[in-house]
Symmetry: C2
């Protein structure tokens, strides 16, 4: 099986490529060729026995999409995107990469006769906007309140339409907020959700800008990769026309995150969390969803952690090399 | 006030231009300039006292959108679209005109500093797809099952996003099926809804391809023009981020249409309806919506007929010049 990963230099793309390299498999099938694409040239995961190609390119630029589909990958994982903050700050760039890039990929696929790859599309909780119910079901209407969310919702419509017409066999995955992200804090409003756990686990202070009662939707990086692994060979016959859905995750408050940290690392770790309320951050995340009904994804076999303790355990195992 | 009508050669565009020409008004405000654009050069409505410009152009072609916004119309009515059947038959053309054309217009507007026109966007019931509830509310999720419906749903997302960012003051109008359309039958699957009334009212036979129990959502051409008239100067402050909604209309079965015809034109007219069941037509329209909850549009002051008898009366008055 041939696999192409667009956005392969990002955290999920990199981990996915590493997993394929380590196991030789995606969705239980043997992978004999892997193409990795990102704006910066992606590192080729070590240990992969198959044919590898990696190049730096912008999917929305001419001929890049044709190059991606030139060797007809069986599975295309489309993670390439301008993230929320940048898409809001630079509207033209967001539409160009997130909408035009996705269309360029779909058009390049449609132009190849007799070709209908599995296309796994990274969508986002940002397709939903307040107000919403306590638990958001998959048939809740899409009311994005950012340009990024609008672009992702348009991508979902394209994925459904091109699937219906038989050009692709698409699956759209709305990722939970990934936690604990490895590495350093970033400028995303959501950065603290990982930071208040990651920094104390590494003996460092972390800033908590919101109150303990703030609730959000999470899964581990390992689950993020596993969604893609599962989607790669999932039978889509039962999915019908609606190809996009929210992935399973853990709904947890900041207070529950902190208690999960205390359970594994004690009071000393929790004491490293500095409460510095930031009304700007609170204002942004107050419009974010808190909980989801993911019955559809669960019925299709998608899985994630079921407690925040499990999410922390994944970080300890995968990033700090602690045995379970 | 300056008004631009894109798609001005279509039935609704033409009637809108005629109304503005006859009254000198749109939304109660005086119109002193009117720009009419369509693929074929639109007829300039007679009797208009203001400045007129009419030209043939494809909105998705380079520089056409800039020309439309060059004299900064206060209200832009965007009716230009490839219709459902053609967008399904020619996918590239549908995306080019319906999606790229709309984006080109929005981008041309965004490029003019300090300019924020009222943009009235013609959306469609085709943004909804089966299965749906008996009455579809405005917060029902969009599940288009055609490329046309997908393009219109993407246009709604664009309208919301560009409104949120302050480039336009947008209102998206989901038109009911317009009935009784004047003129000749066409190849649309919905053509018979007008034909079974229009032809008998003119002493001619009409084909009815479906059963009496088929239910659908209707309004008159006069209501279609009045939605736009109302939207032109409506205060959008209370609309929030969701700028698109289904317009009020009449939910009626074919049997109710026929009884309304009998009430005004008698058994002889009804006898001109020939029942020739067509499973292909039935199959297409069985996926169409039947009834809507339009509380939101009603609360914003949009109105339509409340019985099918009124819809027929509008045809008699406006197209057959019969006094009410």
């Amino acid at each position: 099986m041939r696999v192409a990963i667009l956005g392969a230099a990002g955290m999920i793309g990199r981990k996915l490529a590493e997993r394929i390299a380590a196991t030789g498999l995606l969705g239980g099938k043997s992978v004999d060729a892997m193409t990795l694409v990102d704006l910066a040239i992606p590192q080729v995961a070590e240990g992969f026995a198959g044919t590898r190609d990696a190049f730096a390119a912008d999917l929305s630029a001419p001929d890049v999409a044709s190059r991606v589909v030139a060797d007809r990958p069986d599975v295309i994982v489309h993670l390439a995107a301008i993230v929320s903050g940048e898409a809001e700050a630079d509207m033209a760039k967001g539409y160009r990469v997130n909408l035009d890039g996705t269309r360029a990929l779909l058009e390049a696929i449609a132009e190849v006769e007799g070709y209908c790859p599995r296309l796994i599309y990274a969508s986002s909780l940002a397709v939903f906007g307040a107000p919403f119910p306590a638990k958001i079901p998959d048939d809740y209407y899409l009311t994005p309140l950012t340009s990024y969310g609008s672009q992702k919702a348009m991508g979902e419509l394209l994925l459904n339409d091109y699937s219906r017409r038989g050009f692709i066999d698409g699956i759209g995955i709305r990722f939970p907020t990934i936690c604990i992200r490895p590495g350093k804090p970033n400028k995303a409003a959501s950065s603290f959700y990982s930071g208040i756990l990651r920094e104390p686990l590494n003996g460092q202070e972390a800033i908590l800008p919101v109150g303990d009662d703030v609730r959000h939707w999470f899964a581990s990086p390992r689950s993020a990769v596993e969604y893609i692994n599962h989607a790669a060979t999932l039978d889509t016959a039962a999915m019908g026309a609606q190809r996009c859905m929210t992935m399973p995750g853990v709904s947890a408050t900041v207070g529950e995150q902190i208690e999960a940290l205390r359970a594994v690392a004690g009071d000393a770790a929790v004491a490293l969390i500095c409460r510095v309320p930031d009304p700007a951050v609170l204002n942004i995340i107050s419009g974010w969803p808190r909980d989801f009904d993911t019955a559809r994804a669960l019925s299709l076999g998608f899985r994630a952690e079921s407690t925040f303790g499990e999410i922390i355990a994944v970080y300890l195992e995968d990033e700090m090399r602690q045995k379970p």
